[in-house]
């Protein structure tokens, strides 16, 4: 099978960039603009992140991965092909941005049921990191609402839920379609006064 560069007729001199770690600060900056979960909910309940901001978040991440690719040595050719796939899929998401980032809110994560240490058994382990819960002297374990046995280290489940609102074990959706909290009467009065005083 011919290599990636041959298939895509990439000239050899393009591969000479030095490898370095990507700087993700621009990505997280743009992610802030499009994360609408929980308290990040915009004031106007119908407000959606601008598609161009969503695009930018994906594009920034794609660029960061692209930089990570660095020069191809014969040995790492495979990794670079895979990274290239990732970059392409991100760029595709940037071309056709989803209207919202889907993860659960910070409040949802805070409200998950905590499992007390004395309830945990020796043989139970976190399905994500596969370490026994009790290996940690101060385990911080949460239980998802879908099943009593679906327990995870909080630290492990959090990054997953921020991007995917589903249980890793049964894929059940954990949140209904996002409903904005009803504005309290006091808030509305205050706003009214502001505008017409």
């Amino acid at each position: 099978m011919s290599g990636y560069d041959v298939e895509h007729s990439i000239p050899a001199e393009q591969k000479e960039q030095p490898r370095r770690r990507p700087d993700l600060s621009t990505f997280f900056g743009t992610l802030d603009l499009v994360d609408t979960s929980g308290t990040r909910q915009p004031q106007n309940e119908h407000a959606l992140p601008l598609p161009r901001d969503v695009s930018a978040a994906f594009r920034n991440l794609a660029n960061a991965f692209d930089m990570m690719r660095g020069p191809a040595t014969a040995h790492e050719q495979g990794n670079n092909d895979l990274l290239e796939q990732l970059v392409q899929s991100l760029m595709q998401s940037a071309e056709h941005p989803p209207s919202e980032v889907e993860g659960v809110s910070d409040e949802f994560i805070e409200q998950l049921e905590r499992v007390p240490k004395k309830e945990l058994r020796e043989e139970q382990s976190c399905p994500i990191c596969s370490n026994p819960f009790l290996e940690d002297t101060h385990p911080l374990v949460v239980r998802l609402p879908c099943h009593k046995d679906h327990m995870f280290d909080l630290e492990c489940i959090q990054p997953w839920l921020k991007l995917n609102p589903t249980c890793p074990l049964d894929r059940k959706a954990l949140v209904k379609k996002k409903v904005p909290p009803p504005p309290s009467a006091d808030d509305e009065d205050a706003e009214y006064d502001d505008m017409y005083a």
Binding site: H75, D81, L82, P127, I128, C156, P168, L169
Partner: protein, 153 residues
């Protein structure tokens, strides 16, 4: 590139070696423990029977939040695998879950060989052959032929 290897990856690797899945092997590179050489035997009774297919598997930095990246290195005639060896399989994309592991993913790939899904094709040309009733015997014959030619032990 020198971040310590997560314990989960170490454990998965050890278990792959100590309790290997029948018909599947995966061994990490000495200089990159996130990069695996994988061998999958074609399932018995399928048109890939008798073949040994080689794949590459890479665990990205955010594994297990993101699925492993997997590609066939051996040429294969299959409606869900394209010319570059890329695989169309739900658990490698939208249906990934961090509770899945290298071994479960490789079993899914082996199962995909036993049950091609031409309705969700990655390789249009192959899928078209596979779907048309009158062409299917021909498609299966080609798959057998390619297995014999390229997937030798």
């Amino acid at each position: 590139m020198t971040a310590p290897l997560p314990k989960r990856i170490i454990k998965e690797t050890e278990r792959l070696q100590s309790e290997p899945v029948p018909g599947i092997s995966a061994s990490p590179h000495d200089d990159n423990a996130r990069y695996f050489d994988v061998m999958v035997e074609g399932p018995g009774g399928s048109c890939y029977e008798g073949g040994v297919f080689s794949l590459e598997l890479f665990l990205p930095d955010d594994y297990p939040m993101c699925p492993p990246r997997i590609r066939f290195l051996t040429r294969i005639y299959h409606p869900n695998i394209d010319r570059l060896g890329r695989i169309c399989l739900d658990v490698l994309k939208n249906n990934w879950s961090p509770a899945l592991q290298i071994r479960t993913i490789l079993l899914s790939i082996q199962a995909l060989l036993g049950a091609p899904n031409p309705d969700d094709p990655l390789n249009e040309a192959v899928a078209k052959q596979w779907k048309a009733r009158e062409n299917q015997p021909e498609a299966i014959k080609t798959a057998r032929e390619w297995t014999r030619l390229y997937a030798n032990k």
